[in-house]
Symmetry: D2
Subunit: 263 residues, 4 copies
Amino acid sequence: MAHLSQKEYEEALGPLLHELSDAARWIQETGQRLVVVFEGRDTAGKGGSIHMFASILNPRQCHVVALPSPSEREKSQWYFQRYVEHMPARGEISLFDRSWYNRAGVEAVMGFCSSQQVTAFLKAVPDFEKQLVDDGIYLFKYWLCCDQERQEERFADRLNNPLRRWKLSPVDIKSRALYDAYTEARERMLAATDSPHAPWTLVDFNDQRLGRLTLLRDLLDRLPDTKLPVENIPWPKLGHDPIKERYGVMKPLPSYRWHDRDD
Amino acid sequence: MAHLSQKEYEEALGPLLHELSDAARWIQETGQRLVVVFEGRDTAGKGGSIHMFASILNPRQCHVVALPSPSEREKSQWYFQRYVEHMPARGEISLFDRSWYNRAGVEAVMGFCSSQQVTAFLKAVPDFEKQLVDDGIYLFKYWLCCDQERQEERFADRLNNPLRRWKLSPVDIKSRALYDAYTEARERMLAATDSPHAPWTLVDFNDQRLGRLTLLRDLLDRLPDTKLPVENIPWPKLGHDPIKERYGVMKPLPSYRWHDRDD
Amino acid sequence: MAHLSQKEYEEALGPLLHELSDAARWIQETGQRLVVVFEGRDTAGKGGSIHMFASILNPRQCHVVALPSPSEREKSQWYFQRYVEHMPARGEISLFDRSWYNRAGVEAVMGFCSSQQVTAFLKAVPDFEKQLVDDGIYLFKYWLCCDQERQEERFADRLNNPLRRWKLSPVDIKSRALYDAYTEARERMLAATDSPHAPWTLVDFNDQRLGRLTLLRDLLDRLPDTKLPVENIPWPKLGHDPIKERYGVMKPLPSYRWHDRDD
Amino acid sequence: MAHLSQKEYEEALGPLLHELSDAARWIQETGQRLVVVFEGRDTAGKGGSIHMFASILNPRQCHVVALPSPSEREKSQWYFQRYVEHMPARGEISLFDRSWYNRAGVEAVMGFCSSQQVTAFLKAVPDFEKQLVDDGIYLFKYWLCCDQERQEERFADRLNNPLRRWKLSPVDIKSRALYDAYTEARERMLAATDSPHAPWTLVDFNDQRLGRLTLLRDLLDRLPDTKLPVENIPWPKLGHDPIKERYGVMKPLPSYRWHDRDD
């Protein structure tokens, strides 16, 4: 498959971002609540996809939920308790960078929980999600797929690119040898938790740019007509020359001189 | 002043982001805590600056704190209470998109609080921040400046660019006529809260790209030597052909066909 | 019906409190979690019943959850969200002084929510509670009953006894005229939410002492055998005369002189 | 010293509770906030004192704050962070059953923190508390004293009385041998944290009843005149015979038969 070039990607993305922006305004103005769960293969592109959303949305409206490992106290509570805390209020969007599905994915494959816990989780999920959906929350769940060849390339990039090195966790390293086990865990998870009220959507992220476009197009298509008229804002002239900054207590920093640094 | 081109910006930014990445690793591995407060003129570029950080850092480490308006109950609590909740734990970074300084800025200028409350706030801040700094937290406070000419251009952009329209709040619209009042409020705030343990830094954001570089360079210079050796990670061969995704319960979505959309 | 005297009550209560204490130790040592919901007629005796528990239990183990009215933001969240936050961790007990059932009681009768919201709530409750019970939480729900004659006497006491005046809310005052409506709301609620996994128990609180004994006996009977051997604690002699308090920086307050006050 | 009998205690307590009730109403109606810190010798009587307050106050107004040990994450945050969360909102009372002073007491004596941490804490406290007091919070701090002879008697009671056994923690057992060390830690703490804005009050709890009266009298005397007129509530006749409970879905439990149990 031919990969999408950066230029093609940006041309295709532009109109979608405008639609996303309209959708966010609709969510705000009509008081909707949106939850998007991003799960998937390590390196598939969850972070980049979330970034596509977060980069154009109001951070007061759109929250990225990337929880740390649970504390001992949290581990002993109702499994969903620490996630529930981050469900959106009126007009808000919660983007889950991994989610309650950890239990069916990494925890199950790496043995961080018992098989009884996995089974109980898979049984509980559809009812838990039904509660949210019945309460009026839009809940979309995406699982991002990629072949091991792509995964190996991206792991290698994380290994060698200092800017991405933090993305390489000890669990990732062990996961390389467990590609098949993750597939099996995913299939079991899909079979148990793909429900009419909260269906799963798989997206092929072998080409990450194309994957992001596909995901965003799908999400937008699932929302109802979100086109609202833009409020007209009266915009009178200032009536005077624009004012310049003036400094009393202290001056601004001297500007960074990037040329000198190159020397 | 000549503006920085996108290309120049990216060339200059690259090495700084590598330093930032190193600093984040140092914060993580040595268990530091970092708070960065972003305040400034409307449209100056707080969001873009925060985005510069957040786009390359681990969302589990680096949290953007963009609080909604306080509830009635929160309004009646200790003024700093709802901010304290978001102070970083070991290894974490909290980026405040606006902060407790609202009281000395927008609240003071727009009359959302009494002048006694502003005075009490200005008196309380240095001790509050000293508590955090004495506890070992790195606290950096940036105020982003721009002339009204730039502000008017950027307001106009928000008015006309649907992707940025959400950035135009009713308060912003009133703020156009209050440029001087904001300057005065800032000067009063600087005089009262620029302390040895938590100094303010003004950054000129008339050129936003240059402003971001200047801010980031300054922040990096305030941290001690953050260079840590990169841990060597053994990376054995897979030992088999890379595995392809296989799908049982459901197939991935068909890819987004961007060409057709253009027709 | 002959009322229980204070002396009879205390004699009967003693052994039950010992059992409760054993049960609390069992919950602690075996890591159980217990939720008790106290609902019922205004003035029936919820507060006194909760007090019976809280007065002998460790406040670090046993939490009374008496939530204030929801904020606007909370009102717009998943209905159960603000209650979920207070679910017990390992070894803990949560006593809910009123609960999510507000929606089927006071909110329904007083018109604080729409009839659609009541219907949706009644439909959602059994699944919500099943989630908790399936997760291993012990969930007991008590509804405390009393005739209007008793209620009127107790309202009159609240009206005239300054120590209890705070118990008389404006809603209570309106509730006097709505005794039947509350009965109907309760019956509808029982029909919808009395489930095999989370059954309701009605307790007659026309005699509050007897009601408390009845409730406690029932709760203890629902728990499995909670008798654990008491750990033997070695208790060596002090080996010196007991030490007296000595004061340097300041002295204690002079003791309250109650006789003088009587003069 | 002659101990106060239960009868004398109740006679003396009555009028004080009425004053406390008035004070609570004043706090509610005028929107004050009250924090009471209960610290002191093990077994001195913190729990009983808190219970004296909580037993007559509205649990929606008056919160007992008895925090568990901090999680690893909390340990790494600003020391006061987890306490700040429980500061009162308008009209509320927070009763701290132990508090941030743990660091100067049990943690210092038992070596749960470093001596640098104790020193830093003692230095930080006055400024932290000044923040709260300057914000308008009433902050009262009581340290409950008792001789070791009383402490030994009460430890023995906890050892032998199953209802109180939970009060005997492993730390208590070690504390028996450290009476003097706790005295020294207290004196150091008093010297460092008895400030004009947040003074300490020692109360002799060798007689717990007398101690509670002394503490409550002192607290009431520190509040301004809290007498507010009681609102007159119109109380019309019901206009019909009082209604009896009627049961449809289910019947109440049979009453507990305490006589049979005695057989």
